[in-house]
Amino acid sequence: MSSLDNLMNLHGAAAAFEFSDTGELTNHRISDDSNLTPDALDLLAHVFIANIAIATMQARGWEKTTGQGGFYPVQGFTLVGLEWSAVGNGQRGVVLRNDACDFEAAYAALDS
């Protein structure tokens, strides 16, 4: 079973996808009952890449300024909507329904 199929097995998963280090969509799965499209996942991948880059800069600066380590390097970014969330880590992401969302399981699956 591929890594994307494993992500689709997460409870409430609507889509799972892979992307390049610049955010272009390279592979994806979308559940039959989802309105998501490959174009939307491509933009989501760009959102992940952009926000992880910014957060990494902020974490670097925070640690140097405050001496409080543990945020750098940033390993994942999650966008939370009212009903759905998108969890991204490295070059993969998964879209999950909030009422069933296990963020820790999602990060663990993305790490594996």
């Binding site: 926000n51 910014i54 945020f71 750098y72 939370v80 909507g81 990060y107």
Partner: protein
Amino acid sequence: MSVYAELADIPGVIAAGEYAYRGDRYNYKGQLNDEMARMASIMCRATTMGTHMQTEILCANSENCPFDPAHGWMVRGPRFSVCVVANVFCFLQNEAGLLNRVMKKMQDKLADVEKMI
């Protein structure tokens, strides 16, 4: 008790706070000093504004976009995570069960964003 104060009392939470969407006003509780809380508030507010802009672009050309409106975001580091829902932020340790507990509380307590602004 405010939401951020409730979050700060959860074991494993480093600090929590709330910030104004406009201006530099903020409140916080936990293991931060005033300058750290000010920096955290500015960074969280800027990222929140960014995610709102990105979500509008993401949803501009699709019907029933599942992320509109953006309600929050989180970043995860090797030992700590930052969670933001509406105008409340929470810094927490990466302990088993804590991230889900904090996010459940934030999403439940801050579901009605209009009341928070």
